[in-house]
């Protein structure tokens, strides 16, 4: 079985977001970049499937050269090789086109990625890739088991979950608790240095969307504190002042 895991390189979840260049660029100063948390779940499950069934795991990132530390970490966690498409990943259709092009060349049985990236939160790339490949897509996937050419899947739906069965190949958007995040060990880190990382140039169309500028939310006003012994006053305030109940 051949598994492709697509990962994003994103600001750490604790990052305080700021912009530079007249609000046209993310201020990367002091920002730690990590593997997208959802992508990390996808990778962890792929490595478990590799350990169980002897699958091969390729990591794919659409990103510029500064994403390579994240790719190396994925290799250290257990992926066999990696591909980086040398382009800024800013438009869902464009990113999907890159992934689909690699997938067409190598025909994977399973294409896994996070349910969404935590920078743009679109949650669309997996579905577009699957559409381009003409195969089913499922997201967000909470449990995944493979037997032969059949996948048993639990997907979250609004207010619950459902159990699904589908034949490979599939594209899946993953989330917890599909697997526990893995931390690379020393041996993994050493071997990751020499695992193949191929860099390819992007193909396809111009981007269908571009970001003109960014903005930070206006700060909330000062918090109005209500003494605990007068807690009932809160309900009056929500009713008469905030008018939300």
């Amino acid at each position: 079985m051949k598994i492709l895991v697509c990962v994003t390189s994103v600001p750490d979840t604790t990052t305080k977001i700021a912009f530079t260049d007249n609000n046209t660029k993310l201020n990367k100063a002091g920002v730690t970049f990590i593997t997208g948390p959802y992508d990390d779940y996808a990778l962890a499950r792929a490595v478990e499937l590799k350990e169980k069934t002897g699958a091969s795991v390729t990591v794919l990132n659409v990103g510029e050269a500064d994403t390579e530390p994240v790719i190396r970490k994925c290799l250290a966690i257990g992926a066999d090789d990696a591909i980086r498409v040398n382009a800024e990943p800013t438009d869902a259709y464009f990113v999907a086109e890159q992934i689909a092009a690699i997938a067409k060349e190598n025909s994977y049985d399973l294409i896994l990625m996070g349910r969404e990236s935590i920078d743009y939160n679109g949650g669309q790339v997996h579905g577009i890739v699957a559409e381009m490949l003409g195969i089913p897509s499922i997201s967000p996937v909470m449990l995944l088991d493979i037997e032969g050419d059949t996948a048993q899947i639990t997907r979250e739906i609004e207010g619950g979950k459902e159990s699904l069965e589908a034949k490979l190949p599939l594209v899946l958007g993953c989330q917890e608790p599909i697997a526990e995040w893995k931390i690379p060990n020393m041996r993994g880190i050493m071997t990751a240095r020499t695992k193949p990382l191929k860099v390819v140039e992007p193909t396809g169309t111009d981007k269908l969307t571009t970001v003109d500028s960014y903005e930070l939310p206006a700060p909330r006003g000062a918090v109005k504190m209500i003494p605990a012994e007068e807690a009932e006053k809160l309900i009056q305030l929500l009713h008469n002042e905030a008018k939300v109940i």
């Binding site: 869902a92 920078d119 669309q124 269908l208 003109d212």
Partner: protein, 320 residues
């Protein structure tokens, strides 16, 4: 050329978030000098379908093939793509949801559409087609220019407040050719809490964290939620500990919500939790620790014991 709105049903009724989408789509139609048509898939009665007119749709296309009774993102995308083609629509509007997410991506792939997710305002058409979206899990916004000929706008809850008016939409049956490959996934079982208010749809949310000390104490949270007709939610540790189902987990790696009111009980307010809820209009924090960081991001705060405060709030709500 009409603006096409994909309106979603829940148990035969147009979802509240989809009513917002219809109203939003009608506004875009007004701005672009065209009309708004809704495409609705699945069983619903004529009165319900025609009610799309109250939110500004002039027509409804209703697809009722028996194979479409169960939500199916891939099959729904095929239907909506056929409607786009029939109507010659250049702008497609829908409300973000788990079904809509699955549908939207396939549709964008089919139409080679410029796609904006988590749209939070009407578009600005003064220079191109620019929409404001929520990014970095609510920590920032982006102004996106949609350059493709066909545009898809997936709007976030509470983007717009629909003004209802008198009016009914005309309803036309819609029977496009279906694609067998869209039915390749078989649903073996579904677990869904029925009767409850769906968290992503809820206007009011009562949420609790580890401060509740154990799942057996959730009654006081549910009582307040019931009194308010609110949905219940929880923090990540609570869902990790299996005190509550994952479908209630709000935050960076859970559900992102933007209700009118979010009441956080016994949640300290880690930045990852805030990311999922900071688009809420009004935030109330109740925590016994006066130094809990969440108070800095709240509109109203009570430093107090949730076991004392929550039942008193419930009583006060019932007395309103």
């Amino acid at each position: 050329m009409s603006v096409l709105i994909f309106a979603e049903l829940d148990e035969g009724k147009i979802k509240k978030s989809s009513q917002e989408a219809i109203f939003y789509g009608a506004k875009v139609a007004e701005m672009t000098g065209t009309s708004a048509t809704a495409i609705i898939v699945g069983p619903a009665d004529d009165a319900e379908l025609a009610s799309a007119g109250r939110f500004g749709a002039t027509r409804v296309l209703h697809a009722t093939d028996a194979k479409l009774t169960e939500p199916n993102g891939m099959a729904y995308a095929t239907v909506v793509a056929a409607a786009v083609q029939q109507e010659g629509s250049k702008v497609i509007v829908l409300a973000k949801s788990s079904l809509a997410d699955a549908m939207t991506a396939r549709l964008a792939g089919k139409l080679k559409a410029g796609l904006a997710a988590n749209v939070i305002e009407l578009p600005n058409l003064s220079n191109g087609f620019v929409v404001k979206t929520s990014i970095y899990t609510g920590k920032a916004f982006a102004y996106n220019e949609l350059k493709a000929d066909t545009k898809i706008l997936a709007i976030k809850k509470n983007t717009i407040t629909p003004e209802e008016k008198d009016g009914t939409a005309s309803v036309d049956p819609f029977t496009p050719a279906l694609n067998e490959a869209d039915f390749a996934i078989s649903v073996k079982s579904t677990e869904k809490s029925s009767g409850d208010i769906l968290l992503p749809e809820a206007d009011l949310v009562v949420s609790a964290g580890r401060g509740l000390k154990g799942p057996e104490n959730w009654e006081i949270v549910e009582d307040l939620a019931n009194a308010l007709h609110a949905a219940t939610a929880c923090s990540k540790p609570v869902s990790d500990l299996d005190w509550r189902p994952h479908s209630e987990h709000v935050g960076q790696t859970g559900i992102k919500i933007s209700p009118n009111l979010y009441i956080a009980c016994g949640i300290s307010g880690a930045i990852q939790h805030l990311a999922g809820v900071n688009s809420s209009k009004v935030i109330v924090v109740i925590n016994k620790d006066a130094d809990a960081p969440f108070f800095k991001s709240a509109d109203y705060g009570i430093v107090g014991d949730v076991f004392d405060v929550l039942p008193r709030l419930t009583k006060a709500v019932r007395a309103l």
